[in-house]
């Protein structure tokens, strides 16, 4: 599992959803959690150093989660950052697009604490393998 000291960036245009994700992360032991309400704000925070893990909503105004993912993967400093996309829709075409863009995990709303924990564990394993290769 991720080190609880990992800096987590939670990105969602809905405050309620940011609160839900943050609450679950705190229950899972994470202590350093920042929030952003769209991809642009998240990008600025990520570039300024707050980024060991990004959990981002897909559908947001200004800069979507997918656009943020593409920017992160194209940036030499952030390219290896673990990235989870959260969305209310899970159609094959969307999942394929997210995978192609380099997403580590795809979380479908609604999700429980256990559901998010499983996705985080899976992401951690995937990233460990990727970074040791």
């Amino acid at each position: 599992m991720f080190d609880p000291k990992t800096k987590v960036l939670v990105v969602d245009d809905m405050l309620t959803m940011r609160k839900i994700v943050t609450k679950i992360l705190r229950e899972l032991g994470f202590i350093d959690i920042a929030e952003a309400q769209d991809g642009n704000e998240a990008w600025a925070k990520a570039k300024s150093g707050h980024c060991g893990l990004i959990i981002s909503d897909w559908n947001m105004p200004n800069c979507t989660g997918l656009e943020l993912l593409k920017k992160v993967r194209a940036d030499k400093d952030l390219a290896k950052t673990p990235f989870l996309l959260v969305t209310a829709e899970a159609e094959q075409q969307q999942v394929a697009e997210a995978i192609k863009s380099g997403v580590d995990q795809y979380v479908v709303k609604p999700f429980s604490k256990e559901g998010l924990k499983t996705k985080l564990e899976s992401t951690y394993k995937k990233v460990s393998v990727r970074n040791s290769a």
Partner: protein, 274 residues
């Protein structure tokens, strides 16, 4: 009107043509009709067969020619008001699968895509029932049950204090889904979702209604699109109370489904565009 003959007339519309027959054709009528094929074949064509009782082989030959010409242009013919005797003839000639038929003009236009199909199927309602139950259970640990649903034309029915609204654009119809809560129910549901007691509705927490609507719509969309409904992505919003602008926007007939739970009651309203 782009062509007229005693046997037929052609009405030109923006996206389609309607060909109306006034009687069973004679050979001179068919020659005239055939001479017009080139000018009408590049459109969606609705053939109104209301006055046709039968068709001879020459007429069928011309119709097949028109069918192939429209198909070549990626358009199609749609037969409406086909009499039982004409349908029997088409079947006998094995043409009932070649020629596309619709019950009436409205159905034909909706199949062409000129007007939306105005129907909400059982599949459609069921997917929203399943999704609502699942979302409330997983995200808020609330068991819900639904009551008997009704069709309503009253634009205020089921609209409570806090409503999450999302537009529906799909192959069958355009409309909206509204999930509407009395304030007390909404605050109880939100408290369960956040794990904190929320006692007051505020600009900061009302987006919870939009998020719930988003999740319910997203779940239903996945189910329905596997069945070919073609729902498009949409952005939810929140409405407080019953502003006139909101009610008038959702004034068409709607399916109203009451839900009950330990945290209070709420409504799901699936409406057709007015």
């Amino acid at each position: 009107m782009i062509a007229e003959n005693i046997f037929f007339c052609v009405e030109k519309h923006e996206n389609h043509l309607i060909v109306k027959f006034s009687k069973n054709p004679e050979s001179s009528d068919l020659q005239e009709f055939e001479s017009q094929l080139e000018s009408i074949s590049g459109h969606y064509i609705i053939l109104d067969c209301d006055t046709l009782i039968e068709a001879n082989r020459d007429f069928i030959r011309v119709l097949l020619k028109l069918h192939l010409a429209t198909k070549k242009d990626n358009k199609f013919l749609k037969f409406i008001n086909v009499s039982p005797s004409l349908l029997t003839f088409f079947k006998k000639e094995s043409l009932d699968t070649t020629f596309r038929m619709a019950h009436n003009l409205t159905d034909a236009l909706s199949e062409i895509g000129v007007v939306p199909k105005r129907s909400i199927s059982a599949d459609f309602i069921d997917s929203f029932l399943q999704s609502t139950t699942k979302v409330l259970k997983i995200q808020a640990d609330i068991d819900v049950s639904h009551g008997r649903f009704e069709v309503t034309k009253n634009q205020e029915n089921g609209i409570c204090d806090v409503s999450g609204v999302i537009g529906i654009i799909c192959n069958n119809f355009n409309g909206s889904v509204i999930i509407s809560f009395p304030e007390k129910t909404f605050l109880n549901v939100l408290s369960k979702m956040l794990g904190d007691e929320i006692n007051e509705l505020s600009s900061e927490n009302m987006d919870g209604a939009a998020e719930l609507t988003n999740m319910i719509f997203g779940q239903a969309k996945s189910i329905l699109n596997e069945k070919g409904f073609g729902l498009k992505m949409a952005i939810p919003s929140v409405v407080l109370g019953k502003p006139e602008s909101f009610l008038s926007l959702h004034a068409g007939s709607a399916i109203l489904i009451p839900f009950n739970s330990s945290e209070g009651h709420f409504f799901l309203r699936i409406g057709l565009s007015a």
